[in-house]
């Protein structure tokens, strides 16, 4: 492992807690709608015109709504391993927030190990490395 500093691939979208990381979203102070990525300016609920929001960590566990994988290298700005290693992707339903959040699935898990309705939790894993740091992002991991 490199001794490079670890940074979020997209700054401010999740905590860097290595043990129990969480996505960082926001919640409308008026109607309670959650947003990820964060919305801090205008509530998109048609029945609400609030512009007051609080930043909130989101549930770090959910159920798989659906899943797939990427068999081909995506175009830029994705930074792919060379050679490219396919990875699985999951769309996960968060019960409290009543929203679906996409994300890669941790390395080593392929689609044949996934199922709609399966419990997963949020972890951090490397997305890619730069000269200066290791960029991590959130990934979904089946709960053992």
């Amino acid at each position: 492992m490199s001794a490079k500093p670890v940074n979020a691939a997209i700054e401010g979208w999740h905590t860097l807690d290595t043990d129990k990381p969480q996505l960082l979203g926001s919640r409308c102070d008026s109607c309670g709608t959650y947003y990820f990525p964060k919305m801090l300016k205008y509530c998109r609920n048609p029945g609400c015109d609030s512009s007051d929001f609080s930043e909130v960590p989101l549930s770090r566990t959910g159920k798989i709504w659906s899943y797939t994988n990427a068999c081909y290298k995506p175009p830029e700005p994705f930074v792919a391993d060379d050679p490219f290693v396919p990875y699985a992707i999951a769309a996960v339903e968060l019960a409290e927030e009543q929203m679906i959040v996409l994300g890669q699935v941790v390395k080593g898990i392929d689609v044949d190990q996934l199922k709609v309705g399966m419990d997963v939790e949020l972890v951090l894993e490397t997305l890619h490395e730069t000269e200066e740091d290791t960029k991590v992002t959130w990934k979904w991991k089946p709960v053992a």
């Binding site: 691939a9 997209i10 700054e11 979208w13 409308c28 109607c31 309670g32 709608t33 959650y34 947003y35 990820f36 990525p37 998109r44 609920n45 048609p46 029945g47 609400c48 709504w65 659906s66 899943y67 797939t68 994988n69 990427a70 068999c71 081909y72 995506p74 175009p75 830029e76 700005p77 994705f78 990875y87 992707i89 769309a91 409290e96 927030e97 009543q98 929203m99 679906i100 959040v101 996409l102 994300g103 890669q104 689609v111 199922k115 709609v116 309705g117 997305l127 992002t137």
Partner: protein, 395 residues
């Protein structure tokens, strides 16, 4: 008062990867539509273009670009951009102009030239652009369609073979279509042997991007009568409604859905809301439909559309394709043109191409692809950022 307008003429430039300027395709399609309508170009009072975002400034002002290419003759122009629904919005603009009495005859055109290879977002670190974010995180267009397909498999029991049947059906339909790009009768085995792109979708389950052009001449019912074409195919409804908050299905390019956590908010499915408004506007129900053109960005997505268009209950779409209901000769043929499977997507032209096919079907001019006695046709498509459309045409 009737909101019908008549489709006097339709025309297309064949789909392909021709690499020419998009204006050429638009002009060819427009001239074919004008000839089909039996009018003079100078009779057109309104030119409504569907914009392309890939061909520079002329594409942003497509209405004027086509009007100039056909020869400035003083018509008013309009350009619409609405992703995959661009053509329908251009048609809606023409209909509004005609129904308000401001013009009698309008030309609607869409054409595109597509780049080779993957569509990729503009460069630079842009975390506020969802389209940039999803690519950065490794989520491409096929990801979304694969998620929908896999959910069908796990929840309804659909199989990869069902998706293959859709591809086989559409390739048989498009085989004799002179405007289609891919003319090969694929077998279930061909599909199963093609490379996996995004599980469970293989290369032959996902659509390509193409060059192409489609156009139509539309007019008031009075004008159609004057032309001796009172029995022309009519546009009975155009729906371009937005989704309703909150969303039940994660849509491209979003990384998350809108939350339904607010009290009293239910999650909705966007695709299903498009035909609801169209059926209502036309006073026509799904049971009246004789033929449909739907956006098969993936062959599994075609099955979602059967349910969204209310051709069957949720979860039962695979049964329709297994029984041949949606095949030519079946009770309700879908994608008789061959669909995106045989065309590949030429965004601003695609919604219009769907209406062209239905017009030929309702006139009885679809040749080998003809649906006997077709009376009512419906289109459906969906694109980025809440854009989608559904158009109903009738005899």
């Amino acid at each position: 008062m009737s909101n019908d307008i008549a489709i006097l003429g339709v025309g297309m430039h064949p789909w392909g990867k021709w690499g020419h300027n998009f204006v050429e395709y638009g002009v060819a399609a427009a001239r074919a539509a004008i000839a089909d309508a039996g009018i003079d170009w100078k009779d057109v009072g309104f030119v409504s273009g569907a914009a392309t975002m890939r061909c520079g400034y002329p594409g942003y002002v497509a209405g004027a670009t086509f009007a100039q290419a056909l020869g400035w003759q003083g018509a008013e122009v309009n350009t619409s951009y609405a992703a995959c629904a661009s053509g329908s919005q251009a048609l809606a603009a023409a209909r509004a102009k005609i129904l308000s009495g401001e013009c009698e005859v309008a030309l609607v055109v869409g054409a595109d030239t597509t780049p080779k290879g993957f569509l990729a977002p503009a460069k630079g670190y842009r975390p506020e652009d969802p389209d940039w974010v999803r690519f950065y995180l490794g989520i491409t267009n096929p990801t979304y369609f694969a998620l929908y397909a896999r959910r069908r498999m796990d929840v309804y029991g659909d199989t990869e073979e069902d998706f293959g049947l859709v591809k086989v059906k559409n390739s048989e339909h498009g085989f004799t279509n002179p405007n289609a790009r891919y003319k090969k009768k694929f077998t279930l085995d061909d599909v199963a042997q093609s490379a996996m792109v995004a599980d469970p979708l293989r290369l032959l389950n996902v659509c390509a991007t193409s060059d192409g052009g489609a156009a139509m001449i539309v007019c008031s019912m009075d004008y159609a009568k004057k032309m001796g074409k009172a029995d022309a195919v009519k546009v009975a409804a155009i729906s371009t409604v937005t989704p309703t908050f909150a969303s039940e299905v994660v849509e491209m390019p979003d990384i998350a859905t809108d939350s339904a956590a607010a009290a009293g908010v239910e999650a909705h499915r966007f695709r299903a809301s498009l035909p609801v408004k169209a059926y209502e506007e036309a006073g026509i129900g799904p049971e009246d439909v004789s033929v449909a053109e739907v956006y098969d960005l993936s062959s599994a997505l075609e099955l979602d559309w059967y349910e969204d268009l209310q051709f069957c209950a949720r979860g039962e779409a695979a049964q329709l394709v297994r029984e041949g209901v949606t095949k030519l000769g079946g009770r309700l043929p879908v994608n008789t043109s061959g669909g995106l499977a045989c065309f590949g997507e030429a965004v601003p032209a695609q919604a219009l191409a769907q209406v062209c096919e239905l017009t030929w079907q309702l006139r009885g001019q679809a040749g080998d692809r003809q649906v006997e006695g077709a009376k009512v046709g419906i289109t459906a498509n969906q694109g980025l950022f809440g854009h989608g459309s559904s158009v109903i045409v009738k005899r």
